[in-house]
Amino acid sequence: MGGGSNAIGFFYPFINDETVEIIGVEAAGFGVDSGKTAATMSKGTPGILHGSFSYLLLKSDEGQIELAHSISAGLDYPGVGPEHAHLHDIGRVQYYAVTDEEAMDAVKLLSKTEGIIPALETAHAFAWLENLMPETSEDEIVILNLSGRGDKDMGTISEFIRKRIEDN
């Protein structure tokens, strides 16, 4: 989740169905507390941006907006839609954060095992399955919103892999 527009569209039909647990995964970038993140909800600082009161990445007590970071361009945003802030506050949706590295591992795993190249945005949700699946039982169904395809991210992905090889 970045601003959360795709996610809210997916959540909406299930919000009143209490038998459905809803999870949103945001972009931690280099890590929630790294200073290079887009995980607005995990940071949890309320403020006003683009006309709405929600959770933001803020630099200071004077309300200046922090530059967001995520490997995924679609998640690289310092705010989040206020409906998500509300769903978070009332506890209807659980929000977690996944790093650039974890998202990139998920791209690789899904591409190799299923032949589906997920968008980097979607890859964050896939990465969270590693935490979620061990907690589910056989009769539970997990639906994941495959919000986009990764063809568009090939430049970013190959650059990331190149750097990773260089660093090791």
């Binding site: 403020g47 006003i48 683009h50 200071s60 007590d61 309300g63 200046q64 907006i65």
Partner: protein, 118 residues
């Protein structure tokens, strides 16, 4: 009655009032002090101090640019309030309202800002 209301009340018929806007802290705070005094010496009745905000999307390119430079040079609301307190003693009777974004005031606290705007 506040100073702005006084200004309009005391306005003579057919007389014009001059109100000027300036981004506080552009390029640095000393320049703002000089400009405020210069504006007043040249007949400004009211000076609006823009509080630089990182995302001034209700403003045009000039204010966006000057805000960015001011923030990069380390301006903060506290520094502006201090400067205004000092410069107010040198002014004759010019008014200076502050223009700021709700993002800043909501974090800073409106109740903390208002006493500093005298």
């Amino acid at each position: 009655m506040n100073r702005i209301e006084d200004l309009f009340k005391n306005q003579k018929p057919n007389d014009k009032l001059m109100s000027l806007f300036i981004t506080a802290g552009y390029p640095e705070l000393d320049a703002t002090v000089d400009l405020i005094l210069g504006f007043e010496n040249n007949g400004a009745d009211m000076i609006e101090l823009g509080m630089p905000f990182s995302d001034p999307l209700a403003d045009g390119p000039t204010i966006q640019y000057s805000s960015e430079v001011a923030i990069k040079n380390g301006i903060t609301m506290n520094k502006i309030f201090e400067m205004v307190r000092d410069v107010r003693e040198k002014l004759l009777d010019t008014n200076n309202p502050h223009g700021l974004y709700e993002s800043c005031s909501s974090r800073y606290g409106v109740d903390k800002i208002l006493p500093k705007c005298g």
